[in-house]
Symmetry: C3
Subunit: 246 residues, 3 copies
Amino acid sequence: MFKAGIRAELLKDAVEVMNVLVDEAVIHVAGDGIQSKAVEPANAAMVVLEMEAKAFETFEADGGDLGVDLTRLSKALSMARKGDLAMLELEEDTHKLRLELSGITYHLSLLDPSTIRQVPKVPELELPARILMRGADIQRAIRAASDVGSYLVLGIEDDAFYVEVEGDTDKMRFTLTKDELIDLKGSNARSLFSLEYLRDISKSKALSGSDVLLEIGIDYPSRLSFDFADGTCKGMYIVAPRVESA
Amino acid sequence: MFKAGIRAELLKDAVEVMNVLVDEAVIHVAGDGIQSKAVEPANAAMVVLEMEAKAFETFEADGGDLGVDLTRLSKALSMARKGDLAMLELEEDTHKLRLELSGITYHLSLLDPSTIRQVPKVPELELPARILMRGADIQRAIRAASDVGSYLVLGIEDDAFYVEVEGDTDKMRFTLTKDELIDLKGSNARSLFSLEYLRDISKSKALSGSDVLLEIGIDYPSRLSFDFADGTCKGMYIVAPRVESA
Amino acid sequence: MFKAGIRAELLKDAVEVMNVLVDEAVIHVAGDGIQSKAVEPANAAMVVLEMEAKAFETFEADGGDLGVDLTRLSKALSMARKGDLAMLELEEDTHKLRLELSGITYHLSLLDPSTIRQVPKVPELELPARILMRGADIQRAIRAASDVGSYLVLGIEDDAFYVEVEGDTDKMRFTLTKDELIDLKGSNARSLFSLEYLRDISKSKALSGSDVLLEIGIDYPSRLSFDFADGTCKGMYIVAPRVESA
């Protein structure tokens, strides 16, 4: 059983947190909220989304897994009007997800969870450098990098966070000093990433509108975590590093 | 002889009423106004436009048929500035339509009316259900349907108007109760339509900005009629139904 | 040596003056400012840009030629924020152009000036007709022409400036009378041009936002000149005429 009401705009943002990286995902429904994780096809980036029951206006669930086509759910939610409440309900008999917006009812077919890409265990990472910054600043750095090359370095040097990209012809370095960040801990971290996943991730409105904790190491994965909806929802991305050619 | 002045914006909207469905049309000019009808290539949707002489600022005509390339006329009109008057004149000798906007004069070649797709007689339809609603609501219903499938049902049930679409995977139902409509007469109508024509039709600004009378039946054509420019102009679409597979 | 500071927005507009016509250009740096000229591949249109040292906030240079990829420089400048200062510096050792915006540093590879299309001497033209008009009006005339054909006539007749285009089916004439112009000198000029170059040129924000001196003749090149940034920058385009088929 799953039946819940939630601000359509919040649900749309939450679905987008996953959808920037994957098209489908298994959503685990429990009594105290929902949780989902997914990995993109090349296995280089992972997303975890958690929504407490408190993020919903009403929430009744006794557990279960829903295989959701995020792109179709997102399109349906785009029909919501400002301030609309979205009513969700699992139709057990037809195995569809019923979504009600003002005046519009969708019956969205669920996917068999076993057909959706399996997600490896979320790695426990001990990351030496922690940068707390505005999501909009990450977004700007990634946009600047996109015009120059396909790989970027995230690093810390001289008490500043930097994004560096060396393209075929040009180089770009984006810097935020400790003063321009909310907080900075650690030093001398530096890892190379494929721009592709970071660009996808930075499209998420929930991320770009929040304070984001970016954790990095030396040739190590990076982790981006953020809260939204007054802390009732959490998003997290883990991106695998590229090995720098010597 | 045909010579008329009209608000460029109104002429643009009127041309668009036809142009969303067809690229060219024969415009019948008479002493009391102009009238045009056209049918789209697959013969599944028809449009009728009527503009009284009163819709024009000045109007002099003694009858005749003009074969008009609506797309080119529409492009020319897009150069008008807010508040511009459009002056139209048939140049009898060169058989061109002269269009004057502030500072710009177009001489648009007319088409031989006999080369334009013939329009069958506009069918007299006795449609049992009449729904008077805001054009913007039709537009929203059709937009919601577009994401789900290619065919939609227009119907009345339980004193409410509904649009229903069943796609390959999902179902959507858009409902407007009697309270949300301007008026509703009739019951139990239900017909299936190709989304394509309704989507084209709903792009017309004159329609989406007006109150629209939608008339439907049971497996029968539907008719959408609306007034604009203070009732001096009338638009009408007739869309053929699709036979529902059993 | 070259080191300069300039409002990023102004530099962006100046680069665009060249970039609407060519992708790369040699920029001549001298003690009193910079200057560049370029010709588009078909040799039918030429651009000249001059920026006095006064256009810059700070300016130090002792001469030299920089081969610049305008498209990449333009993309880098698009990352500037409103009010940003752009700091430029030639890195002599690596032969790169260093561009600093708030928080972002680019190192843009310079091109070997000898690999960039050579520019013939800017022709000294004695043009009999001079029209001083708002750049936005030129832009509007060219936009109107674009929908009708591929070639346009620029001319003067009866104390009015006109743009005329005769397409495959339609004709358009755009007229600005002496009253609607800032100034008009000369009479009976008329030359035919390929719309392509004029359309590119009219995209330049510096041109469309300025008063433009358009000089034309009879079957002769046309010249468009304009100042921007309080007269500290000058742009000029020369476009070759097309021979009208008899």
